[in-house]
């Protein structure tokens, strides 16, 4: 957020000093390669999926693919994906928030902060195939934690737990979710002004009242915004889920994956509609994120 301020002021500085050169055609040529690239490799593929999703097998225009999305198995795939993403976003959000709180305001030694941020940078990038391997070695049927708990008299798998199901996948996603939360929310916690706490205490507020009436309301947009990013992070995950479950979980990304490999839906148009459905969910999430970020910047200017 401090970036944003300096950015604005440097923009103004640049603008004031700018000579009155009309932005000629030549200027626009300079950004042509980049936007050509974006057109070719982002827009063209996206529009191709959109156009494909409105075509039936003979290539005629139809809405049928979108109506077909409402079949039970596809709805359940969206629903499971959304639930796992929500659970891992909320779980990772809570764990990450409290850890970030611990190293910023929690009175822990200063050195821990840098260590935690480094660990978080590594863990938030550690995902996909190797992460799945790590969790199989930890919580799989012969995993270390499973065996240790069994020796202690608690059989996870007898109690209905499976690494290859909803909770197993959520626990695995948590590994890259909570570090991302720490990285996103630490600057927001740094932005809480000491004066607010002092002012609240002078007015007789307890620590609890300060958090409930001052700090949390200020932080809420940042926390929600960060959790939305976490949601999106999990929603698009494919590699982790595939290598963990071998594809035997009904996620929307897995469904699209098998559609690319072969026509499992017996209908390519439906496959494209599935993909566009994902984009719509993500676009909705990012729109809410932008709105929340605007709100949080109202207070958290450092």
């Amino acid at each position: 957020m401090s970036n944003r301020l300096t950015q604005n002021s440097s923009n103004q500085r640049d603008a004031r000093r700018a000579r009155p050169v009309p932005s000629s055609l030549l200027n626009w040529l300079g950004v042509l390669p980049f936007f050509l690239f974006i057109f070719l490799f982002v827009f063209l593929p996206s529009f191709s999926l959109v156009s494909g999703s409105f075509q039936d097998r003979q290539g005629n225009f139809t809405f049928q693919n979108y109506l077909d999305l409402f079949s039970p198995s596809i709805l359940s795939a969206y629903w499971v994906t959304i639930r796992i993403s929500l659970a891992s976003a909320v779980g990772g959000g809570i764990l990450g928030f409290f850890m970030a709180y611990a190293v910023t305001l929690g009175g822990l030694p200063k050195g821990l902060r840098n260590a935690l941020l480094t660990f978080s940078g590594v863990a938030s990038n550690f995902a996909g195939v190797p992460l799945a391997f790590a969790f199989i070695a930890t919580l799989g049927r012969t995993g270390m934690v499973t065996v240790l708990l069994k020796m202690a008299g608690f059989d996870l798998y007898d109690r209905g737990f499976s690494l290859y199901s909803f909770w197993g996948l959520t626990l695995t996603y948590l590994y890259f979710q909570f570090p991302l939360m720490i990285l996103i929310i630490t600057p927001a916690l740094d932005g809480l002004k000491r004066e607010w706490r002092e002012a609240a205490e002078n007015l007789g507020a307890s620590s609890w009242t300060y958090w409930r009436r001052v700090a949390l309301p200020v932080l809420t947009p940042s926390i929600l915004g960060a959790m939305i990013l976490l949601f999106g992070n999990a929603f698009g995950a494919y590699a982790t889920a595939l290598s963990l479950t071998g594809g035997f979980i009904n996620l929307i990304t897995i469904l699209i994956g098998s559609q690319i490999k072969g026509d499992v839906l017996q209908n390519t148009g439906l496959g494209y509609a599935l993909a566009i459905g994902m984009v719509i969910v993500m676009a909705g999430a990012i729109t809410i994120y932008y709105f929340l970020r605007r709100r949080s910047e109202r207070w958290l200017r450092v």
């Binding site: 626009w28 690239f37 984009v279």
Partner: protein, 265 residues
């Protein structure tokens, strides 16, 4: 700070620390058990002895380097130019740089295959064409943080003064870009590239559909399907790699950590 507050902080640190280290410990322990009854590095020896390991590793490293280079060549001049001449485009390019987040990797590769495997491009018919498509997809995938680090770097220097000074000394655009501006934002460009390389190295989703077993991510996945201990040692190797790249970035930035939110998971 009250005592209870500190205790509360330690509690969460302990919980998170457990979550972070336990899987690593379990994986490492498991990877040492390839020889019955004793701990050994047998699984690692087998991995390193596998010619496919080296081949896929080098392939992915090459793709990663091409991605970083192509990304820099594409984004750096554009962001510079927008700052200098077309500030009205700043909002647009910021929006565009976030697009890869809206289009998950699996959707992106779906669309890319639909567009480029057929007429008029036929990119997937040749090895070179497929590699070009792979690098292009990776440039899109890594764009959010490459853009962010380049933009942050350019923000910290006075682009206009440097450019005018260079121009008054008779420098052309190439000289200005690569011999005046670039050295000034070297650190941010390098740290962005390292993050890009770290992501691309183990990337699975796009690689598995475009080049399959030629890349490191799909290779790891294949090993996981038939070799138990080797897969754990690969997970440890891959973690060490991630650690090395992030460590390098940290060293460059003296402590600041970057976040990434692109669909590499």
């Amino acid at each position: 700070m009250s005592k209870r507050n500190v205790l509360w902080s330690w509690f969460w640190m302990f919980l998170g620390g457990l979550y972070f280290f336990l899987p690593l410990l379990a994986t490492f322990e498991f990877s040492l058990k390839a020889r019955k009854g004793v701990y050994s590095f047998l699984a690692y020896e087998r991995v390193f002895a596998d010619p496919l390991f080296l081949r896929t590793f080098i392939f992915s490293l090459e793709m990663a380097v091409f991605t970083a280079l192509a990304g820099i060549l594409l984004i750096f001049p554009t962001v510079y130019w927008i700052r200098l001449k077309l500030p009205q485009l700043r909002g647009l390019i910021e929006f565009v740089s976030m697009l890869p987040f809206v289009v998950p990797a699996i959707v992106l590769v779906f669309g890319l295959i639909r567009v480029f495997s057929g007429a008029p491009f036929f990119l997937t018919n040749t090895f070179t064409g497929t590699n070009v498509l792979l690098v292009a997809a990776y440039v899109v995938l890594t764009m959010p943080y490459l853009y962010r680090s380049i933009d942050t770097g350019l923000q910290a220097i006075d682009v206009r003064t440097l450019t005018e000074a260079a121009q008054s000394l008779g420098a052309g655009w190439g000289t200005i870009l690569f011999r005046v501006i670039l050295p000034n934002v070297r650190v941010s460009i390098l740290s962005g590239s390292f993050l890009a390389v770290a992501t691309v190295m183990g990337e699975f989703t796009i690689a598995s559909f475009l080049v399959g077993i030629r890349a490191f991510g799909p290779y790891m996945s294949l090993v996981g399907q038939n070799k138990t201990y080797e897969s754990s040692s690969l997970a440890i190797i891959s973690f060490a790699l991630t650690w090395a790249f992030i460590g390098l970035i940290q060293l460059l930035n003296r402590g600041r950590v970057q976040t990434q939110i692109a669909g590499a998971h």
